[in-house]
Amino acid sequence: MARWGGGIAAAALVGRTAELIEQRDLPGWQAMRQKAVTAQWLAEVITHETVEAASETAFGELAGRGDRPEDWYAFTARFVA
């Protein structure tokens, strides 16, 4: 890993995020909580089947599709088709 020195890690962040969001006295708490709850819900309902189907599209197919942003965004839709 030394080769990659300067990388950033996220261990144990998820639990702390939920805990801090529940403190409710942070700026933007309501929007923060709403988006975090939606993301959490989506993370739970995304199934292995969804990921396997998306994997068949594969990140590799996104390579070289970025000459026009719209093309790239349109192609990412195949991940959830």
Partner: protein, 178 residues
């Protein structure tokens, strides 16, 4: 499938942040397309890094400092909080310890992190949460055996999309400032 997916989301936000930061810092399209990234996430944690070399020079550290702010894209008010100098209390809710250290090392224009986070929000808005979370789920568990296996940055956000997001974020910030 949580928490690996949520950690994947966190790392993907760093990836988007690095992409827009590199474009903002002036990396050429040609050099951008050559960048490979270290991007892993699972239930125990995740990491994102830009590979050394490949034409980055000192841009690498500055881009890492800026992309440390990127997970704040999940907080709609984040760009405003950064602009007002009031972002400190929310940092521990959105950034890991190493993220916070890197973010605090940013010595450039104090408004630039707001621009980077706003540009990340532009990308997230265009992707939508479902695609964002599906991509995050794909990142969860990715593995690489050799340097050549490492994904290219442009796969996760092409130069043109990073440029577009930056331009839109910049325009929005100018409108707010006016």
């Amino acid at each position: 499938m949580t928490p690996g997916v949520l950690i994947g989301l966190h790392e993907y936000r760093h990836t988007i942040g690095a992409a827009v930061a590199l474009v903002h810092l002036g990396l050429s399209r040609r050099a951008y397309d050559r960048q490979r990234i270290w991007l892993i996430a699972d239930d125990d944690g995740g990491e994102f890094a830009l590979m050394r070399g490949r034409g980055l020079g000192d841009l690498r550290l500055r881009a890492l400092q800026l992309c440390a702010f990127a997970p704040l894209a999940g907080l709609p008010e984040a760009p405003d909080l950064i602009r007002r100098g009031e972002v400190e209390p929310v940092l521990p809710a959105w950034l890991s310890g190493p993220d916070i250290e890197l973010a605090r090392d940013w010595k450039g224009d104090p408004m630039t992190p707001a621009l980077i986070v706003a540009a990340c929000q532009q990308v997230e808005d265009k992707l939508g949460l479902i695609r964002l979370m599906t991509i995050s789920a794909l990142i969860d568990g990715m593995a690489f055996e050799t340097v050549e296996d490492l994904p290219r940055l442009e796969v996760f956000l092409p130069y043109s999309a990073a440029r577009q997001a930056l331009d839109r974020a910049h325009l929005n910030m100018e409108r707010i400032a006016a």
